[in-house]
Structure formats: C-alpha cells, structure tokens
C-alpha cells in the first residue's frame, strides 16, 4: 500500500480506508438501528393511507370507485370512505467530512468523521425502516425504499471528496417541512453556523445539529511546548506551556457551544453534543428520542424494543 506523501494525500488515504470500512460501518449502523423501532405516522388528515379516517358524503367530483358501498347501503346517501394520510417525512442527512473531522487523539476510539458516518448510516437505516424518506444534499434524492441505506452508503463512499461534504447544506433541493440532520464538530466560526441555522429556518427546514467532538478537544490534554496547527494547516499557534491555555480554551469552547445552542433554540433547531470516546449507540438513542416528538402525526415515536413490540 502506498504511503501518503502529503497531508492532502493523507486525508484521501484515510478516506479510502473509511470507504473500505463502509460495509463494517453499515453493519454497525444496522446493528445499532435494529435496537429501535418506529412506526409510520399519520398526518391526522385524510389522504392516501391504509387506516380508516372518516366517512364523508359523496360529491360530484369524487370518483365512483371511492364509494363505500357497504356504508352507503345502510342509508340513502352515498358515502366516501376516507383514509388517514400516512405520508412519510423527508430528512436530509449531512455528515461533515472536512479535514477537521479526520482528527483523532490518543483518548478517542475513532475519528470524528468515522463517528459521523456511523451515525448518518444508522439514523438513515432507522428512518427508512420507519418509512421516512432520507436524502443526501446534492447527491441523493430522498427515497424511502429499503435499499436507501445502501444507496446512502454507496453515495457517501463514491463522493466522499465531494464538496458538499465540506460545507453546510444550502441546496434548493431541500423543500419546506423537511428536516435536516447535521453531524459536524461545529468548530467553524460561529457566524457561519448562525447563518446556516437562519437560512435553514427561513426555508422552513428544521435542523438537528449533532456536535461530534474528540475528548481531547474538550480537555486540551497537552503539556509543555506545543505548536498547534489547524487540520488544513492554515493556522498555527505556538504555546509555550500548553497546560496554561487549558482553562481559557475550555471557556472559549463553552462560549462557542452555548452561542450555537442558543441560536439553535431560537430558530427551533435542536442541538446535542457527542464525544467520540462514548459509544455511538448513545448518541443515536438521544438523537432518535429527539427526532421522535418532532415528527408530526403519531404523537411521538414509540421507543420500543422491536422484540417487545412483536410479542
């Protein structure tokens, strides 16, 4: 195997590794997803669906085959049988695969990008199983077919160097009432993030922000004379004694995060933090719990074990 010659190659090299690890990630995602189940949710209005909603008197514009003859036979009027509209919801997924996400410290189990992908694929699998439509901005139109998680994985694997994984999703493709799941470390300038939240909100899209951080990014566990360099190499900071910077750094990180959290709250978006030294299922559960009530119709997701539901 070739050894990477420079940083760019390094990332590409690691992305290849990521892509080859994709089946494993898929399996892991499927395993995590199988622990949760979710039903199709009605829209509390009539429309295409399978469960009965209401009888209504026939009007001229109705098609004859919609008449419920059994009901109509009991009276002199003709009734139309209406079913509840059980439309699925559209959720856009966006894992951040920028260089910053390829960071891993000695305290973490996996790279942030890997964790973002696992969460993306797992939540994708879960949502499709629940009948939702998932899509990748610019890359994959929303789909609720059972192959959608595989397509998702294939699209990510094929286009992992695509620009859309490096910047916030702002596509015209994303329609009103859809939701958007963003997996990133959200360490970019706070203005960018605020702008993104605002633009999502302005278009009627609900955002769910999952901040994935390496534990080292929380605690800054470095000591002594250290030259910090950003992952793209554009910025470097020389610290005479890294441990002296710790308190101030943590304060700044807290401030940064609180700003995002506040903005998200103001614009009806959710925000949660996940660390790569914790198991992915933890984040998935929390995320799912958060998605559940927001999904319209069924009055909240039933968070049940699949086994328990069937018995």
């Amino acid at each position: 195997m070739d050894t990477p010659a420079n940083d760019y190659d390094l990332f590409e090299h690691e992305a290849h590794g990521l892509a080859s690890a994709m089946p494993a990630l898929l399996v892991e995602a499927a395993r995590i997803a199988s622990a949760l189940s979710h039903g199709i949710h009605g829209r509390k209005r009539h429309g295409p669906g399978e469960t009965f909603w209401q009888f209504r008197t026939y009007e001229n514009s109705d098609a004859a085959h919609n008449i419920d003859w059994r009901r109509s036979a009991t009276t002199d009027r003709l009734y139309i049988r209406e079913r509840e509209w059980e439309a699925s919801h559209t959720l856009w997924l966006w894992p951040d695969l920028s260089p910053s996400m390829s960071f891993i410290s000695h305290q973490a189990k996996s790279r942030k990008a890997e964790r973002a992908l696992v969460l993306t694929l797992a939540i994708g699998e879960l949502l499709v199983r629940a009948g939702e439509r998932i899509g990748l901005v610019d890359l994959m139109p929303p789909s609720n077919q059972h192959t959608a998680p595989q397509m998702l994985a294939q699209n990510i694997a094929t286009h992992q160097n695509h620009e859309s994984f490096r910047r916030f999703p702002v596509s015209r493709q994303m329609k009103r009432y859809s939701e958007c799941l963003l997996f990133s470390d959200f360490l970019m300038p706070v203005d960018e993030i605020t702008d993104m939240i605002k633009s999502l909100s302005a278009r009627g899209i609900k955002g769910h922000l999952v901040q994935i951080l390496d534990p080292a990014e929380e605690t800054l566990p470095y000591k002594g004379r250290v030259l910090f360099e950003s992952m793209d190499g554009n910025l470097s900071v020389l610290a005479g004694r890294a441990q002296e910077l710790r308190a101030e750094y943590q304060r700044r990180l807290h401030l940064h995060r609180e700003t995002i959290r506040q903005t998200a709250q103001n614009y009806q978006c959710s925000f949660m933090v996940h660390h790569t030294d914790r198991p992915a299922s933890e984040a998935l559960l929390a995320l799912y719990a958060r998605l559940g009530p927001s999904l319209p119709g069924a009055g909240g997701a039933r968070l049940t074990r699949e086994k328990g539901a069937s018995s």
């Binding site: 030259l227 910090f228 900071v237 020389l238 610290a239 005479g240 004694r241 101030e248 990180l253 940064h256």
Partner: protein
C-alpha cells in the same frame, strides 16, 4: 608542547577556544528546543490566548551542561592531549636519526617501543624534522640513507616488526658512518632493547662521536617496570625429564608460568617459576611420563610473545624408534617363550617398534638401519656377521643405542660387538648340584641410568653369562649388579652411541626380571638414552672409488656434501610460526648446534617433516648482559611503563557519545514525552532506536554490516522465502505478468486449497504466485501455469530451471484457457499456439491424451472427464513409459507436465465470500463441482504419484490372499 603533570598538550594554543564556552552557554540558553507539533482542529479557538511564558521555553540546565561538556571534550580533543608525554627535546627542522633495536629482545614490549617511536615521529613532524630510521636487526649495506619526512617515516615504521635474531648494531654504526649526514643539525635517538650483545660500549662511543655533542644523543632504556628480555631454553636432563632454563639479564624479579605445548598447540604442562632479582637463571623441570614428554613440541613462558621465550623441542627429545631382532624362530609357536615378547610389551606404549619379517639377521639389520631407528635390540643372537657388525659399529658411532640380551648362543663367547668380552660358558645358580641360590639384584648405583628405580623383592636371576673380570676396565660401565657383585647390565660408550648388554635372556627362562615392572622401567630409560642418530656420511664414495686418491681438502669437501636441512617453518619475532622468508637458507646439520640465529638462519624447524631439527635463540651457553652505563652527558630516558597515551581519540568518542545522548534526549522530549497518537509515538520510538543503533554502529565500527548490504539482504530474503515455503505446503501458480490472469489464478487456487483442505487430509495454505525467472521452485509440488495469448519469452537460464524442476519431480499444469476458441469459427490453422511457442524450448517428453485407465482418473475421485470453465478440451499428459525413454521422466512415473485448455482456475475461482466469479458452461454447477474434483485429482496425483496405480494389482493380491 605544554604539560600539566602527567598530561601534555601537543597543540596547546587550541585550548584558547575554551573561551567560547560561555558564549555557547548563552546561545544554548536563549535557543528554545523546537516545540512538539500537534494537528488540532480547534486551533482557531486557541489563537490569541496570550499566556506564553517564554522563560519556560529554555532547555533544561542539565541539557545545556551536557552540550557544554560535549563542546569542551571536542576542544580538549583538538588540543591533542597526551598522557605521559616524552620530555626529550628536538631541534627545529633538523635531522632526526632514530635507531631502534628490533631484535629478539624487543618483542616482549614491542608495543611500548612502537608507541615511543610513534610519539617521537609525531613530535618530529611538528618540529618539521626529517627522519632517518635505522632498524638495527635487519640493516644491511643497501639500506636507504635518504632522510624522509616524518610522515613518510611513520609509514615506514609501521612496517617494522621485531626479528627473531640479535641486532647487529655495529653494522648499523658502519652504515651510519658511511652516510654523509652533512652539516645539518642532527639529533640521535637510540631506542635500545637494554641488552649488551658484547659491543654496546663500542656502539655508544661511535654514536657519541657521530653526534658530536653527547647531548644530541638520547638513549631510551627499559624502565624499572618495563618488560625485561628473557630467554628460555629446554633440555632433557640426566633424569630424563625436560628441564627449562629461564635466563634474564639480572636485576629484576619475575614470576610467571612455563608452559609446554604439543605440536597442535595444546597445553601439556604448566608450571610456575620465580626469578629472583639477584640471580640470572632459574630452572624448571617437567616431571612427566615419557609418553607425554615425547609429545612436547614447544616450551614457552606463558603470556610472553617473543621468539626468545619460545623454545622449539625437536626430535632429540622425541618419540623413539626401536628396532627388534630375535635370533630364534619360535615366536609364532610359543609366544610367551619368545625372547621379544616381554620387550615388545614393555616398549609398545611409548615408542615405535619395528620388526623386520626377514629371518636373515644381516638383511634384517640392513632394513632396520635404513628405517632410521635410534635403538636396536638384539635378543638371543650369538655371533653377528662381520659385515653386519661393521654396519652396526658405524651406526653406533653416529649415536645409535644397541641393546643386546644374552642367550644360550652367547654363552659360547659371542662376538666383538659387546661392552665387555665374556667368559666361555655361563653361570647357573641354584641348580640341583649347586650350593648357591638364585641371586637377587643389588640396588642401582648412582652413575647408572637405572638409579632410583625400586627393586621388587621377588626378582631373582638363575642363570647368566659372565663378563671376563680381567677385561673390566674403565671403559666398561656396570649399570646393574647382582647381590654378589657380578655385573648384570654392562655398557660401553661407542662414539656418540651406546652398546648395552643384559647378561640374561629377554624371556623368563634365565630370570624373573622380564616378568617384573622393573624390566619395563629399565627398558624405557634405555630407549630414552638415544639422542638421535646423525645421518650417515657418504663414506662409500671414497671407499667404493679407489681411483680417487685422498686429497687434502677431502674432509672439507665431505663436510660440504652433508645434506643441508631446508627450513620448514620459522619463528617470527613474536614466537609465532610463519613460512620461511626469501632470505631463509638451509642449514647444515653439523652447523646447527654452533649457530646463533641470524637473518638467513632464523630460529625455527629445519629438515623434513617428522625428522625436523630445531634452531633456537636460547642455548645453554647464552648469558644476557645489561647495557653498560653510557658516557656522561648522554641523555637517558626510560620507556614509560604504561607508555605515553594520546587521549584525543578517547575525547572525540566522548564528545560523540555526549552529542548522541543529547539528540536522543531531544527527540525523547519532543516525541515520546508528549501525548500523541500511538502511531506517531511508535514512529518516534523507531527514530530513537535508529539513533541508538547508529551510535552503536559508529562506536563498534561494524564495517562488515555496511559492506555489500544488498547481497546480505537478498540472501536473507531468499532464506525467508525458502523458510516460508518449506514449512508448509503451498500450491503455486506462475505469475504471467497480467494482473487479471494472475488474480484469477490466485483466487482459483485459494478456492481449490479450501476444497482440498475440507475434503482431503492435505491442508495446503495460501497459494503462492511465483516469478518463474527468479524464485526457487523446489518447494512446490505443483505449478499452475496459465498460458496467456502472448506469453513472455523465457531466457535460457529459466528454461534450464524449469527442466530441472520437472526432472526433480515437480509437476507443471499448463492451462491454455482457450477451449472457448474451439467454439469460435475461423481459427487460423497453421499458426503455432502460444503454448507451442512456450514449450518449444523446454525439454518436453512425448504427450498423449489421458488414457481412460490413467492414475489421474482415480487419484482421489473417479473421473471420466476433466472439465474446467469449459468442457471438452483434452487433458494431455506424458505418454506412458513403454513408449518412450525421455530424459524428463521421473522414477515415480508421474507425468511432469499436464496440459489442459479448460481454464480450470476460472471454474475454481471464488471471491472472499465464496461466491463464484465465472459461469461454467455448459453444465453449470455440476460441471464446477467436477472441475474441483479435477483439481483435487491433479493435486493428489502430484503429491502421491503412482500410489493409486497399484490398484491394478489388487485382483492379483486378493487372489494371493485366498479371497
């Protein structure tokens, strides 16, 4: 030159560089160590936190101290410090005449002399002197008298070694006198070896005269602690023991060990000795059994490497060759009565016995004398032929020892080859008609060689021959007597030899003596008396040639005609054996004892192997005299006991070590101490250990490791390959160079290996792709060789390797994979196929389609056809034996070559999950199964050979068993 106690500096002005040390200190303090590098996504958040405390960025003080020490060591090393420097002065740009005694006496402490000389030359180089080097031992008239630069002189001096002979100082003085030294300033240095060879005073005077002013002459002498020259000399003493004599010039006490070695260099004996200061010699005797003593080839002082303390022991102290002649012929019939029986038993363990078959005494004597015996024993022989007697007389003159035993025939008077005339008739003691009783032996007298031997109580003599008492004169030695005083053993010195008579028989008829252990000891001492027989002088030329009248120079001429002994191996100055040099000349045996070794006759072994004579430096007459006191005003200096020692290399090494430690610490501080990813930590650890390794290599100077690394690596890789391939059995395929074909071959064989492992007792491991041109093929029982449409050409070496592989029992399965083409129309007919082109150069036997009863059809499964991805292609094997006598034919009747066109690998191939890669036509999965069976049959065939063919004999065997 500057000195501080025992420390001197050759370039003291360089010490001024030490003033830059504080500057270095300051620079090191303000230069921070390079920071640890971390990629960190949240760097943006860190920007602008101004908490840098630059004073913490300094290197720790101990690291700075380490670096300063390294710099100081470097500066000190450049100033070239010397421990115990020489103090004698040298003039600027004059001529330095350095005489060095490189004779045998200088070898013991040659390192000291060499070190003094090198230092002298180094100083001469600094003072810009030209140098004239004169080695006093091997100087001659042709010695170059052209002064050299000090640098060249150092090169010249490197070729000087101590010589194994005495220096010739007077010749050196003569040579020096001849040289026109001119009017320049001349300084004389004489590095003496501390011995006066009889002319030291003359030499010193001559040198002083040459120097003009006595102050221009410096004599280097052995200091109190220096190793004084010693010599060692070994001889067989009166008691038959080897005795070493150690001689010193006196004035020193020396303790050490004398060691005796055999001719293979193994230590035989070790004994301590002590040389007191007030004596000049001490003696060490080796009380050894004769068998061991005879093995000693060399005696030396342990730990001294010098030709003068290595004494070579030659044949005179060695294994004896004894000839036996009996006068009786009853040996075979009655061995216990044979006169020679007891003699043989007694002498066999420690000497070489020679007994001629010839019963004719005269001829037997002839034979024995021609075999260079040192001792001749005649038992029971009465009268010798006069000619034989003359021969023996001559032999005795040359140093032989003749031992005669009496017998009934000698009672008649005997001949003249006896130590003393005998009386007619013997003497019987203790007979029926005699008053006398059998006589016991009297104790041996002091002048007898048997002195000291214990007398057993039960030995008595019943009968003997009597010496004529009137003839017992001074020439007759009586070595043993009976209790009544009658001589029992008499002897006479004859020339260099001895004539000994036992007045009894050698068997037990006359006495009990041959039964006793005393007899054995007596015989051994007798045999050891011989000091070797000198080769015969050619007297026949004169006597057989009466025409040539004796001339005055005759004896001289005879001397010259003595055979000269060529050198075998000579000693160098350190006492090691070397091959003779071109100067070495043969030595005449007569001269050997009077010679002192010289350049043309260095000490060593001369003669022919097995009969060599040694020439040694030390002789019994050698005494060592120390140098006399030199004239007044001559500068005297002692060789330093531990020599002057340049410290620069040591300091350079120290500086290097310190720098390496420094770089190690720095890399540790940067890499290993800070938390980082595991991989980078590993990388740093590898770097650190690489530095350590480099340091080790630099210190030890492992040049062989650097020499030709490519070859070593290659052979190591080959070894690894061989080890890998031979520990487990692999199926193998030939890499064609086309990735698609190779991949299918690999996958196909992998799948086949799994099938084989699950179905048969054979468990092949991962298949191997071999490079047919390079890899060793011997490890693989079967080679799968897909033949692409355009096979690469093979060079002749490769073809030879493939032929050899097939001859040695390998099987090659060629797969042309082109059966599909037979389905296609329009195939060109005449063109040679790729396989034909490939096989054209190989040694291929005649082939035939697999017959229906071939082993391949039943080596594991019973098969009718051999399908692969395609069906219908013929499987070709070597035609059966009765039709051919090909050279590629192995004894097991296994076809070395199998050819198919069905593309087996494609049918076998599966991906990692076991899914097949190619459809097989026309019969689908059943055909794939058959193709696996084909593969298993072929592998089994390659492994088990014709084992299954034996089944044809099954009916016959069953019938024989009565079934």
């Amino acid at each position: 030159m500057m000195s501080l106690g025992p420390l001197g500096f050759l370039s003291p002005w360089l010490l001024t560089a030490a003033i830059v040390l504080p500057l270095i200190w300051w620079l090191l303090r303000i230069t921070p160590p390079s920071p640890h590098h971390v990629f960190f996504p949240a760097t943006r958040l860190l920007a602008g936190i101004n908490k840098d405390e630059q004073d913490k960025a300094h290197s720790p003080w101990w690291l700075t101290l380490l670096r300063l020490l390294a710099a100081a060591a470097l500066i000190l090393a450049l100033a070239r410090p010397v421990l115990n420097p020489q103090t004698a002065t040298l003039e600027k740009s004059g001529l330095l005449v350095a005489l060095i005694d490189n004779g045998w006496a200088s070898a013991g402490d040659w390192q000291q002399r060499a070190s003094s000389m090198r230092q002298l030359l180094e100083r001469a180089e600094q003072h810009n002197n030209s140098v004239l080097l004169l080695p006093t031992a091997d100087i001659d008239e042709r010695h170059s008298l052209k002064p050299l630069s000090a640098f060249k002189a150092r090169e010249q001096f490197a070729s000087f070694t101590p010589h194994p002979f005495a220096p010739d100082r007077l010749k050196a003085l003569a040579v020096l006198n001849k040289a026109a030294l001119g009017n320049q300033q001349v300084t004389f240095f004489w590095l003496s070896d501390g011995l006066d060879y009889g002319h030291a005073k003359e030499f010193t005077t001559g040198l002083t005269a040459l120097a003009g002013n006595a102050k221009n002459l410096t004599i280097m002498k052995n200091g109190a602690k220096a190793i004084t020259p010693l010599t060692l000399h070994a001889l067989v003493n009166q008691k038959g023991d080897l005795q070493a004599t150690i001689t010193s010039p006196g004035g020193i006490s020396y303790e050490g060990h004398v060691r005796a070695l055999d001719n293979k260099g193994r230590s035989v004996f070790l004994k301590p000795f002590k040389l007191a200061a007030n004596t000049t010699t001490t003696e060490v005797a080796f009380e050894l059994p004769l068998e061991l003593r005879n093995q000693i080839a060399r005696v030396e002082i342990k730990g001294r490497r010098s030709a003068s303390t290595s004494f070579l022991v030659d044949g005179r102290a060695n294994w004896q060759r004894v000839g036996l002649i009996s006068g009786e012929a009853s040996e075979q019939a009655q061995p216990l009565l044979s006169p020679l029986y007891y003699i043989k038993k007694a002498l066999k363990p420690f000497s070489e016995l020679t007994e001629p078959d010839d019963k004719n005494t005269a001829q037997a004597t002839d034979t024995l004398l021609s075999r260079d015996i040192t001792t001749l024993i005649l038992a029971g022989i009465g009268r010798l032929q006069s000619k034989t007697s003359e021969q023996l007389q001559d032999w005795l003159q040359r140093g032989g020892v003749l031992v005669r035993f009496a017998g009934p025939r000698l009672e008649q008077g005997g001949d003249d080859l006896l130590p003393v005339p005998l009386r007619q008739g013997g003497r019987a003691l203790g007979g029926a008609l005699s008053w006398s009783k059998p006589q016991k032996l009297a104790p041996f007298e002091e002048n007898s060689p048997f002195f000291g031997l214990e007398l057993p109580a039960d030995v008595s003599v019943k009968r003997q021959v009597l010496a004529d008492p009137s003839q017992l004169n001074d020439g007759v030695l009586i070595w043993a007597r009976l209790e009544d005083g009658t001589p029992l053993v008499t002897a006479r010195k004859t020339g260099r030899g001895l004539l000994v008579l036992f007045h009894i028989t050698a068997n037990s008829t006359w006495s009990d003596l041959p039964h006793s252990g005393l007899f054995v000891d007596m015989l051994r001492r007798l045999v050891a008396l011989s000091s070797g027989v000198t080769p015969k002088t050619d007297t026949n030329t004169a006597s057989n040639n009466p025409a040539s009248s004796p001339q005055p120079g005759d004896s001289l001429r005879k001397q010259a005609e003595l055979p000269a002994l060529p050198p075998i191996r000579i000693l160098d100055g350190f006492g090691n054996f070397t091959a003779p040099t071109i100067y070495t000349k043969a030595v005449r045996i007569a001269d050997l004892d009077r010679f002192t070794p010289s350049k043309i006759h260095p000490p060593g072994l001369y003669g022919t192997t097995g009969r060599s004579r040694a020439l040694n430096i030390a002789s019994p007459s050698l005494t060592l005299t120390p140098l006399p006191a030199p004239p007044a005003n001559v500068v005297q200096e002692n060789y330093k006991a531990n020599g002057s020692y340049p410290l620069a290399p040591l300091l350079f090494t120290l500086a290097l070590i310190l720098f390496l430690i420094d770089s190690l610490i720095v890399s540790l501080m940067q890499g290993l101490l800070a938390p980082t990813g595991k991989r980078s930590r590993l990388r740093k650890a590898v770097q650190a250990s690489a530095i350590l390794l480099m340091a080790g290599a630099a210190l030890i100077g492992t040049e062989p490791a650097l020499a030709a690394p490519g070859e070593k690596q290659r052979s190591a890789a080959e070894d690894a390959f061989a080890l890998n391939m031979s520990l487990e059995t692999h199926l193998a395929y030939v890499r064609t160079g086309r990735p698609d074909i190779d991949r299918i071959s690999r996958l196909g064989l992998t799948a086949l290996s799994k099938k084989i492992a699950s179905r048969t007792a054979f468990e092949p491991v991962e298949p191997v792709g071999v490079n047919i041109a390079k890899d060793e093929l011997a490890f693989f029982p079967l080679l799968y060789w897909p033949v692409p449409a355009q096979p690469a050409d093979l060079d002749s070496a490769t073809v030879a390797r493939i032929n050899a592989y097939m001859k040695q029992g390998g099987v090659i399965l060629f797969d042309t994979q082109d059966q599909i083409n037979s389905f296609l129309p329009g195939q060109p007919a005449g063109e040679p196929t790729p396989l034909a082109r490939l096989l054209a150069r190989m040694d291929i036997p005649p082939l035939e389609p697999v017959p229906s009863n071939h082993v391949l059809t039943r080596s594991f499964y019973l098969l009718n056809s051999f399908p692969g991805r395609w069906q219908g292609g013929t499987l070709w094997v070597e035609a059966s034996r009765k039709n051919t006598s090909s050279s590629v034919r192995n004894s097991d009747d296994v076809s070395a070559i199998i050819i198919t066109s069905n593309n087996l690998a494609a049918a076998w191939a599966t991906d990692e999950r076991g899914r097949t890669l190619f459809a097989v036509t026309p019969n689908g999965e059943r055909q794939r199964e058959m193709s696996y069976r084909t593969g298993i049959n072929i592998v089994m065939y390659a492994l088990t050979g014709n084992y299954k063919a034996d089944q044809v004999h099954l009916p016959a065997l069953m019938r024989r068993l009565g079934q």
